[in-house]
């Protein structure tokens, strides 16, 4: 740009005004040789000649511009050895200056120009940029920590789950182990009792017979108690590991009432109480998991007998629009409102329980009942019984069964099953002895063998109507054996059983061709019912 001299002079004045230049000359020792320009702006005015300037300009400490010789005047000052530009240096009084240094022989020239404006312009954006970078960094870090925390939680969760699974499997396994010998104890005690009752009348009154009967009572009630505890623990483990499955089947409600009366009337009398069943408008048969429903009712009635301790315990069954309504009422102290939810959880019991209730119970029964009712499609309610006492009730889905009508009476069944030949494959001798005897008395003709080889041989002889196969045989897998029976053209009914309540085992057995699956120990009555149903079914 070329300017007329007058404008050029004006522009120069203007730029100089803005830049507020100050030129200082010092010698090698930093002593002031001379000053020119706006020295006051930089707080340097009033310095006497030969004064040491480094206290005022400490940035000169350590600097020796002459060490690399004089600058080359033809080149730009910033890129020449011996000259140096330091922009935006904060000097005394908080002012900012651009500082240009140049060596000229023994003299150093320092040109200061104002940089306050430039500093003010840069400071804010720089501040923002840095703060943003810091925030971004902190955000990233927080996200990483969250991610790490989450994956750690997930890992811990997986570990807990697998631990819990292992615990469940262990408990289930242990329970199965316990059930088989308990089955034998109970079954044989039952056989002994039958023999005792069938003994000649004169012996029945003898003191030794009474003692035997008492021992038998103790054995049976002890074993039953143990079995129900094991059953509860197993059920709880099955629920926890998601193994509990419902098996809906036709159930005769009249038969259920008869069974429950038989089960509790004597027990209630023993306690000086009364057990009553009231049934209204019941269809003959409904579809539900009979075993589980029975288990829940037995648990509730047992609790009522235990906790009420006195008066009437009433079981009421009602059927309305496809639902079975069950209510168990007692005249005991009732359940305080504050505890109603709690006692339905595992290992909790009402505080008000009397001495007897505490002993021998692990606080699982009610929690299991609550879960079973949930699986059956209902929910246990706890209320006050009008006039005092507790009222436990629930309703479950119970469609009227289209299944085969049950054989009318015991006599009819006996005659119907008389001709049925039954093959039992089980490697436990106590089981073979027990059920051979039990089923023999129910009118079946039973052949019991211990392994697959013997079973296949037996099949070649007289064809059985029904085969009972244990899942765990000493020489074979029960499910495999079932498959071989079917492959050899056996078209009769097969009942699989085992001490395992695991869903996988049940499905394996049914998948191989079994018609039903029962979990040992199977009470004699239940086994008879199951066999009758199989026998009657098409």
């Amino acid at each position: 740009m070329s300017l007329p001299p007058r404008l050029g002079r004006w522009l120069r004045r203007r730029l100089v005004q803005r830049a507020r230049p100050c030129l200082i000359r010092v010698d090698r020792e930093g002593r002031l040789l001379g000053m020119d320009g706006d020295c006051a702006h930089y707080g340097l005015d009033g310095l006497p000649a030969w004064a040491d300037v480094t206290p005022y300009l400490p940035l000169l400490v350590g600097l020796d511009l002459n060490e690399s010789g004089a600058g080359d005047p033809s080149r730009d000052v910033e890129s020449v050895a011996g000259s140096m530009l330091w922009p935006m240096v904060e000097i005394a009084g908080g002012r900012h200056a651009d500082l240009l240094l140049e060596a000229d022989g023994d003299v150093t020239l320092m040109l200061l120009t104002d940089a306050d404006d430039a500093h003010a312009r840069q400071a804010l954006p720089q501040q923002h940029a840095n703060e943003r970078a810091l925030l971004t960094r902190r955000l990233q870090r927080a996200l990483e920590e969250l991610k790490a925390a989450r994956s750690e939680l997930e890992a811990r969760n997986r570990m807990l789950e697998s631990l819990n699974d292992a615990k469940g499997r262990f408990i289930a396994g242990l329970s199965h182990e316990l059930r088989t010998p308990l089955t034998a104890v109970l079954g044989h005690a039952g056989l002994l009792r039958d023999q005792l009752e069938a003994a000649p009348v004169r012996g029945a009154a003898s003191p030794s017979m009474d003692a035997s009967r008492e021992s038998l009572d103790a054995i049976q009630s002890g074993a039953e108690h143990l079995l129900s505890l094991v059953g509860n623990v197993l059920d709880h483990a099955s629920i926890e590991t998601g193994q509990l499955v419902m098996n809906p089947a036709p159930l005769s409600l009249a038969q259920l009432c008869v069974d429950l009366r038989g089960l509790f009337e004597r027990e209630a009398r023993r306690r000086g109480m009364t057990f009553r069943v009231r049934a209204d408008r019941l269809p003959p048969r409904i579809e539900t998991d009979a075993t589980r429903l029975r288990q829940v009712i037995i648990n509730l009635v047992n609790n009522a007998l235990k906790y009420a301790g006195t008066g009437v315990v009433e079981l009421k069954l009602d059927w309305r629009e496809g639902r079975l309504v069950v209510a168990v009422a007692d005249r005991g102290p009732g359940v305080p409102l504050s505890q109603r939810e709690r006692i339905l959880r595992p290992f909790e019991r009402a505080d008000t329980s009397s001495g007897e209730g505490k002993a021998g119970s692990v606080g699982l029964g009610l929690a299991i009942s609550a879960e079973l009712v949930r699986r059956l499609g209902g929910e246990i309610q706890i209320d006050d019984h009008p006039g005092g006492g507790a009222l436990f009730s629930f309703s479950i889905a119970a469609p009227v069964s289209q299944g085969p009508v049950a054989p009318a009476g015991t006599a009819g069944v006996a005659s119907a099953t008389e001709s049925v030949h039954l093959l039992m494959v089980d490697d436990a001798p106590e089981i073979r002895i027990l059920y051979t005897s039990l089923l023999g008395r129910a009118g079946f003709s039973v052949r019991a063998v211990r392994d697959a080889e013997a079973a296949l041989a037996a099949l070649a002889g007289r064809r059985p109507g029904i085969i009972i196969v244990d899942l765990n045989l000493c020489d074979a897998d029960g499910a495999e054996l079932v498959r071989r029976f079917r492959a050899q053209g056996f078209a009769g009914k097969i009942l699989g059983w085992s001490a395992s309540a695991l869903r996988a085992d049940r499905e394996r057995m049914l998948g191989a061709g079994a018609d039903r699956y029962l979990v040992k120990p199977v009470p004699a009555a239940e086994l008879r019912d199951a066999l009758r149903e199989l026998f009657v079914a098409p």
Binding site: L59, G62, H96, A115, Q126, Q127
Partner: protein, 168 residues
């Protein structure tokens, strides 16, 4: 009194300005004010036996990579402090890079590593340990806090002594 120029180098916001402020004025502010350009402060340190040294302390605006301008500011320095932020591990890498560039430009100079903000125990990412291997050229490492003042004086004095010994 003898005078030496030292530079405080490190990534932005590691606490360079705060360390200088603590050392020179015994003050601390938790407000962050970005340094633009440089600020030069002086302080005399007593080194015992009647020896003393005046330090011209250059607090240079932080950058994560060494720039030409930054290296120009270091001219004439007799030693430098490398500052990392204990709560940001990556600021240590930045120290190594700056160290390489400065030694390359100025030749072998005594330098010391400061792991600053050690008062923030809970957020700590750089653990208290010996000198990290990429920075083993440093004379020493100090875990400092401009907030509490811990080891700040020690670090500056150690550098002063080292400079005096390397070029009396």
């Amino acid at each position: 009194m003898d005078a030496r120029k030292i530079c405080i180098l490190g990534d932005f916001a590691v606490g360079k300005t705060s360390l200088a402020r603590r050392f020179v004025h015994q003050q601390f502010s938790d407000k962050y004010l970005t340094t633009v350009g440089v600020k030069v402060d002086t302080k005399a340190v007593e080194l015992g036996a009647g020896r003393a040294l005046k330090l011209a302390i250059w607090d240079i605006a932080g950058t994560d990579t060494p720039t030409e301008l930054l290296l120009r500011y270091t001219r004439g320095a007799a030693g430098f402090l490398l500052v990392a932020d204990a709560t940001r591990a990556e600021t240590l890498d930045c120290c190594a890079e700056l160290r390489d560039a400065v030694l390359d430009r100025l030749g072998p100079l005594p330098h010391i590593l400061l792991i600053n903000k050690c008062d923030l125990e809970a957020q700590r990412e750089l653990t208290a340990a010996a000198l990290p291997s990429p920075l083993d050229t440093a004379l020493a490492r100090f875990d400092t806090s401009a907030l509490t003042g811990a080891k700040v004086e020690t670090a500056f004095t150690a550098l002063a002594r080292a400079m005096l010994e390397s070029a009396p």
